[in-house]
Symmetry: C2
Subunit: 132 residues, 2 copies
């Protein structure tokens, strides 16, 4: 498990969250174990302009990889500001802890910044996976 986390942490360094921040290209696929495991699906819309978004994304990327039960993350933001980030977790408890943590971070930022116009968070149990 420690090896898996290490692999995923190094993988995260070239994750699309980072690539959207620093503009690099990446593989972008999370290497998850066989189900069951958990997914936190975070959909968000940013306002135009950066407004501190990069800084907070960096902070959240660092945070997510440090959480217990972290398995991997996939994240894309489109040119129109809509973004989907799916993080994967060993247990529902791990996912819920991250959800609370992410909401806390977002709430802190929402008090100061305006770049998240809207967001939704869903916690789901992955039951089947098909990797090409």
């Amino acid at each position: 498990m420690e090896k898996l986390l290490a692999v995923n942490k190094s993988y995260l360094i070239v994750s699309p969250i980072v690539s959207s921040v620093i503009g690099m290209s990446s593989a972008g696929f999370a290497e998850t174990p066989p189900p069951p495991y958990y997914a936190v699906i975070f959909t968000s819309r940013c306002t135009k302009g950066d407004n501190g978004y990069s800084e907070t994304s960096d902070k959240i990327v660092t945070l997510v990889a440090q959480q217990p039960g972290f398995l991997g993350v996939e994240s894309v933001r489109g040119a129109d500001g809509l973004g989907i980030t799916v993080s994967y977790w060993a247990s529902e408890e791990d996912g819920l802890r991250w959800r609370r943590n992410a909401e806390h971070q977002l709430a802190q930022q929402l008090g100061k910044k305006t770049w998240y116009q809207d967001y939704s968070l869903r916690v789901a149990e992955v039951k089947r996976s098909y990797i090409k």
Copy 2:
């Protein structure tokens, strides 16, 4: 339920899958009912260039909204070709049917085209949701 589907179908017209095809901006959030329901998480990477991608995206958008149990869809593709599409379904059976259908469509296209380098499909049960 019929009303909900009708709302979601009209909502789909301005979904980000469509917007990625025709270049328009949109709200992009799926309006899902309270959990439990199901999510099909589709992560993919396209090769550079269109290579028939728009045509097949159109076809898949039309297909997804016609499936039984369809609740909504959220989709983003980044500038580097990585895309995440999460479709939501009333039951696991509905989600699995879509998964098979999507794989069938992809397999047909993969035989002819080269724009999906890689993809993964995950079927998950949404247990909790938090909409801002």
